[in-house]
């Protein structure tokens, strides 16, 4: 009898214990369902909630996508800032494409595909026309100053200083010198090899504007044109009789492989450097760099916030000069850009 009783008790005990364990186990194996809203929709025919509906200024994390294209010169600055911004705002997806200033305006920005276009020259009237015919209104923000740099081979000892006229001679479509001696009879009787950015590049446009003149003879076309600044460095490094030009940042990264040419604009030769560009001694090749947000995109908080972040960092010495190699803005310049931006954001939100 006692055995029976005890076995009955133990069975009940067992049931109790096991159900308790089971319940505890189940509780540990469940989660609260928030409707599967986190993560993406895996093509399951599920909800297609828009990216930016929940980004309000009430302390919620910013989220959404920012599409950027444009100048290869501004590209390193743009990706560096994008990287830092994304670290602080992991829900914001930034993507940057290097298309050249003109390519970015014509193929991406003015047709409405991108939110920002980087440019190493101001927007052209015909580009503005294209934009406005598609309902895109650009805002011009200056983000840094670049010193466009003319480079020659390390073994070159005759053309380490050039006057603006000589530079114009070398690259003009009218004179088209074939040999160095065609420019200056003291120079070697050797064929000139020319490397430069392609005509989609703002660097190319700026070089024409500052050296050859807008109404001038135009840029010669028998040169190796490329959107890849590294190719220019490689070309000049590979040939003693080569010359090329590119953005200052690419030169500083490769200053042991090629040498920079000091430019004489009438007041004696000036080497390109952050200092000479900032003080304005390095003429005529120091130039402003721009980014153009479109006004309609600025009504979205994450894009407006990124634009503010961009302008705030234009005075950041470590980032702009140290990491990327451009001349930062002064505080006054920055304040001016910030007020332009705030105006635009206000207009966008009206």
């Amino acid at each position: 009898m006692t055995r029976d009783l005890s076995s009955g008790v133990s069975r009940r005990k067992f049931l109790l214990t096991s159900s308790a364990v089971g319940a505890a186990g189940l509780a540990g194996c469940t989660q609260n369902n928030d409707g599967g809203s986190s993560g993406g929709s895996g093509g399951s025919g599920g909800s297609d909630d828009s990216d930016d509906s929940d980004s309000t200024a009430t302390g919620q994390p910013l989220s959404g996508t920012i599409n950027i294209a444009g100048s290869s010169t501004v590209f390193p600055l743009s990706t560096a800032l994008g990287e830092i911004f994304q670290e602080d705002n992991p829900e914001v997806n930034i993507n940057v494409q290097s298309t050249g200033s003109g390519g970015g305006f014509a193929n991406f920005f003015c047709v409405g595909d991108t939110d920002f276009n980087n440019a190493s020259r101001p927007i052209k009237p015909e580009e503005e026309e294209q934009c406005s015919s598609n309902g895109v209104e650009p805002v011009e923000l200056t983000v840094a100053t670049d010193a466009l740099t003319v480079i020659v081979n390390n073994d070159n000892d005759w053309a380490t200083e050039l006057t603006v006229d000589q530079l114009a001679d070398l690259w003009s479509a009218e004179t088209q010198p074939q040999q160095w001696s065609d420019v200056n009879s003291d120079w070697p009787d050797q064929d000139i090899e020319l490397f430069g950015p392609s005509d989609a590049s703002g660097t190319y446009d700026y070089f024409i504007e500052s050296v050859l003149g807008e109404e001038g003879p135009g840029h010669r076309q028998d040169y190796s044109g490329t959107e890849q600044d590294r190719t220019i460095v490689q070309g000049v490094e590979g040939s003693e009789y080569a010359i090329g030009y590119l953005g200052f940042a690419y030169y500083t990264e490769n200053s042991d492989r090629v040498q920079a040419v000091a430019i004489d604009d009438g007041d004696g030769p000036v080497e390109p450097s952050l200092e000479t560009a900032r003080t304005g001694e390095y003429t005529p090749l120091s130039r402003p760099l721009f980014t153009y947000p479109k006004v309609s995109a600025l009504s979205e908080d994450h894009i407006a916030e990124y634009a503010r972040f961009f302008v705030e960092n234009t005075t950041n010495q470590d980032l702009v000069a140290g990491d990327v190699g451009y001349v930062p803005l002064t505080d006054d310049q920055q304040a001016e850009q910030m007020s332009t931006l705030e105006d635009a954001i206000e207009r966008a939100n009206d």
């Binding site: 540990g28 194996c29 469940t30 989660q31 609260n32 369902n33 409707g35 599967g36 986190s38 993560g39 993406g40 929709s41 895996g42 093509g43 399951s44 025919g45 599920g46 996508t65 599409n67 950027i68 294209a69 290869s72 590209f75 390193p76 990706t79 560096a80 994008g82 990287e83 994304q86 992991p90 997806n93 930034i94 993507n95 940057v96 494409q97 290097s98 193929n107 991406f108 595909d113 890849q228 600044d229 590294r230 190719t231 460095v233 940042a249 690419y250 990264e253 490769n254 990491d323 990327v324």
Partner: protein, 545 residues
Amino acid sequence: MATEDRTIDGFGQVSRTVGTVFRYLLLAATLIGIVALVILLLFVANDAIQPLTADPGWHLTFFATLVVPTLAVGGYLASRNQSAAAVGVGTIGLAVVTTMFAGGLSLIFVDIVDSITWAAAVLTLAVPTAAVVAIARVSNRSPLELLAVAVILYYVSLFGVPGPLRSVVGTGQLLPGVGSAVASIPVLPVDWMLLFATFTLPVAVVVRYYARQLVDDRTATAIVAVGLVAVAIAATAAPTAGITPVPATVLASVVLLPTMTYVTTTALSRPHDRVGLALPGAVFGGSLLGAVAVRTLGYAGPQAWVDWQFLTSAHSRNAIDAGLYPAIGGSILLMLTVAVLSFPLGVGAAIYLEEYAPDNKLTRLIDVNISNLAGVPSVVYGLLGLGVFVRYFGQPSGTVLVGGATLALLILPIVIISSREAIRSVPNELRQASYGMGATRWQTVKNVILPRSFSGVLTGTILALGRAIGETAPLIMIGAPDVLFSLPADLSSKVSAMPLQVFAWSSLYATPEFYQRAVPAGVVVLVSVLLSMNSVAIVLRNKFE
């Protein structure tokens, strides 16, 4: 007499030298491409892994624990028992390749599709499929009736009742679809359990199907059941090792389950080849032993650029912090999209051209054009993608969908051609026998031709995907971004890809570190992924030939 002399003269001088020289010239022609590529890859791998930065003690330790035992075991097996050696190599290959695939799948389940969405999607498709199969088994309905039932069931499962027809019917939503029903359940099993039910179990079914070919039904079930228990244990125990349960479940399902099953079924069905399992034992045991020894002895390993940090972080302005993660994820998503789009289209076209198409001028014209399309440069397809998908259909540029569709068009001719070859290799006698038994053409295709040619079709498709994964030009054309900091969240977000990221590093960043270190590291990852895909194709081809 004179004629005879001339023939002898005409035969010329007999010498073996010319023949020998010719033979070695042919050998050189065969090897030149391979050797050039091997040298390049060695340079690239050296830059990416930098083996010389490791302590000599590190090399010595691994030489003693890994290289010597592996060579000893491998040499013994190769000389004594070829098939056992094949088992050993197969086990290692399976473990390595499945690990790479598991990495990709973990990436998807951790960062792109959460397990609830996945479970809902699986249920949405599985419930009506099961219902249709059941109805077809039980009742004797005509195909048209079955089709109607299937359409209704899938509709209800996807959208509920009345779904998008709400405005027509004029009532509110009476019954939710399976997906939204799952989404509205307040309490669900934890993530890894959902994955276990909706991912591991289907994997187990496939694995059991292959195990069934080597051992009997009960043993196969038992082996797979043990594997499933192992997966569950791995998922619950993973947090103690610092791994979250979701990737642990994926890893265990894709690596542990198939490898364990392969090892046990081989050991059971081929007792003579059991000894081959010593090879993976030597390799994995040696690696583990070496790693432990190196850590206790304090030898530093090589300062490789391909490391965990490189695989899991995004691009950075400092080369040392730069990584390939968004590009890896982008490549995986692109490949999935390409496979989903090109496989049915390509195989469908191949079946039509081989089995149905009459031999007339039109089909011959199509034939020639498909062959030509396979040789059209990829940049042209990029232009097509830009013109058709982006400009004409107004899709945003550079998205997963546009990139996948463009690459799918690019490889479609290759898929068609290789699938046609696979279908053509099915012996004609099988077709005739099938027709002779009264089967219709559709039944013949379904029951004879597709099963016989499936592995060949799969092989061709995987090789074509291997071409797509390395393409850069079409992605540049459709405006894929050069730099992206996060994974694409869905089909309409911007996508980067591994070759594109490597190209961006090599061209847009001027510091030597980028193109001397980050670029080789990216190339090593890209080539490893490509080789693992190709190895799957080769194994499939050898197995079913």
